[in-house]
Structures are given as structure tokens and as C-alpha cells.
Amino acid sequence: MWELALATIFDPSTGQSSTDVDLIRRAQTGDAAAFEQIMRLHERRVLATALRLLNGNLADAQDAAQTVFLRLHKHLRRIRADDNLAGWLYRVTANVCLDEMRRKSALVPIEKVTMIPRATTADPESEFSVAERRATLTAGLAILAARERAAIVLRDIEGLETYEVARILGISEATVRSHICSARSKLRKFVHAGGKT
């Protein structure tokens, strides 16, 4: 299966750690605690990516995350301990979400986003402004084509390099740049229009 073609991506922030190597080896021998620990280490990146790709629908993102981790469990024995687990997870997450997007191909209202408020500044007005702007951006992500959204989520939100995004999505770097350029232009116009298309 093409999902098993593990990306050999080097990324200092997400690359394979010695903890991952050890945990994968233990999980491969049937150690449930090790597998759970792998989930704990990578759940944020999987769920957050799925949440952005699936238009902020938490229920769908949860389902996608579960599917990703079940696939990880299913293919655990075929994964080499020194493979880039983060890259593999991004790749499977993107594929699962793109499949789901194709299946649904419907926009989800932004009201469905279920997140708890986070206080980052002492100024409530500024806090509201930031939250409002992020809500607008989240809504803006929903108007993008699936591939554009995947590219910008991985490149701008998850902070991966262009070549990593290209490997994860299975497209060329030039295509990634094209998607990113188009997505940023659309988002900028969407924000300028006050969140209206």
C-alpha cells in the first residue's frame, strides 16, 4: 500500500526521536503501554491537522484521528523503528482527511467548531480580536480547495517545509508552492472581505 511508503522526512521539530524509536520497538512486541504513549506523543499533531483539514469539525476530526491511530496499529510491524513516524502520521492524516473531504464535499458551519477558550493576553478586547480573526481564518480555510487547504495547513499552520509537504501529499514542490500561493491569496481576500466570499 502506498501509505506504507514511509516518507523519509527530516524535520528537527517533528523528526524521529530516540523515544519514538524505543516506543515503536516496544509497541511492535505488543506492549500496549508503549502504543498508548506513541498516541500521547503524536495526538496533538494528528488531531489538530485533522481539525484544520476538516473545516473545524471536531467530531469528524476525532474519527479521522482514531482511523489514523488504528492504521498505525495495523501497520506497526511494517514500520521500521528508525522511520519518521511524524511524517508517516502526517501523511496518513492528510490521506484520511482528503478521503473524508471527498466523501462529504460539504462545508461545515464554523459554529460547529468546539474549542475551549484560551486566555493568551490580559487585554480582553485584544483577545476577542485575535479569536475573531482566527475564526475568520478557520472559516476561510473552508473555502479553499482540498489540496490547497492541505498544503497551507501543513506549510503555514504545522510549519513543515515545502519539500516535506510535497512528500506528504505526494505532489511536486512546484505544485505545493502553487497551492500555497493560491490559498494565501484567497485567504487574504476572504479576510479583507470580512469573512465573506
Binding site: F35, L47, K74, L137, I152
Partner: protein
């Protein structure tokens, strides 16, 4: 090059997705084009805001729920015996049985063919000429006049009758 074409570069400049030649060209353009400079700043701000969205504040209970569900479904999968590791062994066993049986069956078939034919099929040679001569004198006349000899072989299967024509000249 018009400013319209620089919009694409402005979008890419935010993350430095340029080669050095393009970067220099774009920066030179920005020196004399305030509108493109504003555009580039807007894209930079947009990219910065997007990067700030990396960690959505998700209730920890959601993560716990995912882990629980995965671990439960993982446990139920564990009890399913995977059959694919047995496939090579099963194939080898079938091949071994076939290898053992094949020569025996072949020899048995070769040896038994005549026996089976002789026991299953009763070949009766009917002296056609005599029979015909008695019952159908018209045909007997034909034989005498050089018509071929007809031998009918009856088998146990009523649907199978072997007819053998023998030229009298032979």
C-alpha cells in the same frame, strides 16, 4: 513585469519560497512600489497568524476519548487470529500432498484404463452380414455386390454405439 505578477511572489515571499535571484528581483521591486510592499506585509501577517493557529485549544477529554476508543478497538483486533502468516505453511502442505499423490494417481490411471474399459464396456461384434442377410435380404444383396461390412459394437452405455465399416475389398 507588472505588479499583478508580483502578487504571486508577495504570497510566496512570506515563507521565503524563493530562489535567491527571485528574492533579489522582488526586493528591488518593493523599493519602488509601495502597494506591493503593503501586499507583502499583509501576506507576512497572514502567514504569522496561521502559524499561531498550530495548537488549537482542544479539551483534553477529547484526546482521552480518542485514546480510549483506539485502545478498545485495538484490543478487539488482537484476538482476531491473523491468517496470513499461515498461508506459506498451508501452501507448502497442499503442494506436498499433491506431490505425494500425483505419481500414484497417474500410475493408477494408466494401469486401470484397460481394466475399466473391459469391465465397463461390453463390446459385441455383430456379424452384420449374417444378421442383415437373415432379416434384410435387400442389404445383403448390396454387400454381395461390394458394399462395406458394418460392425456394430454395443457398449454398456446405450447411447454409445461404435460402428465399424470394413470395406470388403480389404
Amino acid at each position: 513585469m507588472t505588479c499583478e505578477r508580483y502578487e504571486r511572489w508577495a504570497a510566496l515571499a512570506a515563507s521565503g519560497d524563493f530562489d535567491s535571484r527571485e528574492q533579489a528581483q522582488f526586493e528591488a521591486h518593493l523599493q519602488g512600489c509601495p502597494s506591493c510592499r503593503i501586499l507583502a506585509e499583509e501576506f507576512a501577517a497572514l502567514t504569522s497568524e496561521l502559524s499561531g493557529m498550530k495548537d488549537p485549544a482542544i479539551d483534553p477529554a477529547v484526546y482521552a476519548s480518542i485514546r480510549r476508543n483506539v485502545m478498545e478497538r485495538r484490543s478487539s483486533r488482537r484476538f482476531r487470529v491473523p491468517l496470513w502468516p499461515l498461508l506459506p505453511a498451508a501452501t507448502a502442505a497442499v503442494l506436498a500432498i499433491l506431490a505425494l499423490c500425483w505419481p500414484t494417481r497417474l500410475q493408477h490411471n494408466i494401469a486401470s484404463v484397460p481394466t475399466q474399459v473391459s469391465t465397463r464396456h461390453t463390446v459385441k461384434v455383430i456379424p452384420a452380414a449374417r444378421t442383415v442377410k437373415k432379416r434384410q435380404p435387400g442389404i445383403a444383396r448390396k454387400m454381395e455386390s461390394g458394399q462395406p461390412l458394418v460392425v456394430k459394437m454395443l457398449t454398456d452405455d446405450p447411447d454409445v454405439v461404435i460402428i465399424w465399416l470394413v470395406d470388403k475389398g480389404d
